[in-house]
Symmetry: C2
Subunit: 375 residues, 2 copies
């Protein structure tokens, strides 16, 4: 201890030190996912939930009470506050653009749930708003932060698995069995390709995280429920730089979330019990990554032996980590991993697949990106 450091850990002053100021967030759009997100960062030392807003008075009051935060009666009132640094937007996809425009104009940082937007016109609006501002912009693609995804990427980067030639990513659940005629999820404009927009977008981000940008897509869909115009099961083939991807999405079967990578020296398989997805502190405990290798090689193909090994997965918290990264990027020089470019690139792949659904013709992702820039 020196005189130069009078407020050391032992001093009363230090004990009362509140630590670095936490980044102050407000939740906008207060549906189910807003609650999942708020739970994920409750207790964070990086960010705090300061206020919230949604049009519905009752829902807003309930959210404020449940999470012990303030509430604002309008988005304008929220954005006018000096004590809010950023927004966590979980409003419906088609409301992202106007909220982000208003936030950017007010200098508020933005974290938005995926997809950043669905229509190319909305994406163009968001792009202009964010690029014309100084705000930190993050898009919620937390799946790439699951421990198994990080391990897959690490294994690929070390080269021990060899080169991937095929990757198959699947995401499905049973929500299509509950769809009613008129539901926005049943509308091909609001949710192109049905589960592709809502579920597939997660795996699109994972695939691009693992393999780099997808170049083109060809897709097929099925809409097997009478009265529902939208596809409820969609398969997409994706061309990457030197490997081939498959994306399977459906809304007609018990939850599934898997990634299979076929590499020259090993196969990797990731499985997640989808029912634990939204309990982000526990998700990793309900996932599994296996690596299958040729344990005994032989000139005689019938004499080769395969061995499946479990890859240990240190637990993480995909949602909290993402929000804290957003907070650190607001507070300091840190940057976010999934920003505007990544979010737009994911939607471009989604739209290439959705456009392909109509005629099953291959669609270049660059075709979509060019339209976004021109819009």
């Amino acid at each position: 201890m020196t005189l130069e450091n009078p407020t050391s850990a032992e001093s009363p002053t230090a004990q009362a030190d509140p630590g670095p100021a936490r980044v102050r967030l407000a939740a906008v759009g207060l549906g189910r996912w807003a609650r999942v997100m708020a739970r994920a960062y409750t207790g964070s030392e990086v960010v705090e939930l300061r206020s919230c807003y949604t049009r519905n008075d009752e829902r807003r009051a309930a959210f404020a009470a449940d999470f012990g935060c303030e509430q604002d009666e309008s988005l304008a009132a929220l954005l006018a506050r000096d004590d809010i640094d950023g927004l966590v937007i979980t409003a419906p996809n088609d409301q992202h653009a106007p909220i982000i425009e208003a936030a950017a104009a007010a200098g508020k940082h933005v974290y938005t749930e995926k997809p950043v937007a669905v229509s190319l016109a909305d994406i163009a609006r968001i792009r202009r708003a964010v690029l014309g501002s100084q705000i930190v912009f993050a898009c919620g693609h937390s799946a790439r932060r699951l421990s198994g995804l990080r391990e897959m990427k690490r294994i690929l980067d070390t080269g021990t698995a060899g080169s991937p030639s095929m990757v198959e990513a699947v995401f499905g659940n049973e929500r299509g069995l509950e769809l009613k005629v008129g539901d926005w999820r049943a509308d091909p404009v609001q949710s192109p390709g049905g589960p592709l927009t809502q579920l597939g977008i997660h795996q699109i981000d994972n695939l691009q995280y693992l393999l780099g940008p997808a170049r083109r897509a060809v897709a097929m869909g099925q809409a097997p429920r009478p009265g529902i115009a939208n596809e409820l099961a969609v398969g997409v083939l994706l061309e990457f730089d030197s490997s081939l991807g498959y994306l399977g999405c459906n809304w007609l079967s018990p939850g599934s979330f898997t990634i299979d990578m076929y590499c020259t020296s090993a196969r990797l398989r990731y499985e997640l019990d989808f029912t634990w997805w939204s309990k982000s502190a526990q998700t990793d405990a309900h996932t599994r990554l296996t690596r299958t290798v040729i344990a005994a090689d032989s000139a005689d193909p019938d004499a080769r032996v395969l061995r499946e090994e479990e890859v240990p997965l240190p637990p993480r918290d995909h949602l909290r980590e993402e929000i804290e990264e957003f907070g650190r990027a607001i507070a300091g020089p840190a940057t976010v991993e999934v920003g505007l470019a990544e979010a737009v690139s994911n939607v471009a792949v989604l739209q290439a697949a959705a456009r392909s659904l109509a005629g099953t013709r291959p669609v270049e992702v660059s075709e979509i990106l060019a339209e976004v820039e021109e819009a």
Copy 2:
């Protein structure tokens, strides 16, 4: 015991009864697979291996010695014998047509390894030869006889899993890593789509067995090895009557053989350790079928619970069963499950996928079938 039944089990006469005569087969084409097949039906009470033929004298003599059968010095000599009922053809794909034509002309029944043929001209020749004869024709698609495939089909038929919306079938192994320039497997004409022709054809049969006829195909391929013109990894989307199929084939990764079915009430997953494929009496012991259901439903999607159950798989012998069925169809009124129509239909799907590879345009299976009929 009565006087009317003097040759009961206890009598010396009954003990000397040789039982029904076994159907007499000859192996044609004596490579690795001929040996796998011969081992599979050694000891059968339905069929016996009587003779064999291949052009190479040494290989023929070795095969005859190893399996204790006779040998013929020409196909003509073999076909002229009165004591041969049928052929088991495991010659290269492009030799099937002339051998089958000669066999049909000689009235010899034919079991041929898959694919029945690759070129549409060959298929047309085989079709004319078989349809113009009275022979029993069987094509080796034993995978559908694996215990897990039979159980999958049974579960679908009982309706307890609900309706399938998506099915993903994968078959891959590491053989492309050993490919040399000039190898027939590296030639897109002899092996369209590389692993698609050699491996994918098995899963095409499985998919059509489970779901009925595929209507159209769209495919993408990757040929990531310098100097190899053929695709080494291929993904195919297939349209079935009310569900969507994906077929993934690669020659660049440790062996994989899986089928995932996404049904409204359950997911089914089948996995086979490919290294046990050719030891057909033991294959089923190295396979696994699981059924995943919603064990606890809830209006709150975050409260739903999934349960994975193991489906018991009584052991079978996919190769022996298939050959014995062929033998019974020769001996009596029984029929074969995979005959000419099924074999041709599988190649039509294969060719639709291969044709789609060039332009990634969707190709109707009926387009290929019409060309076979016109050829």
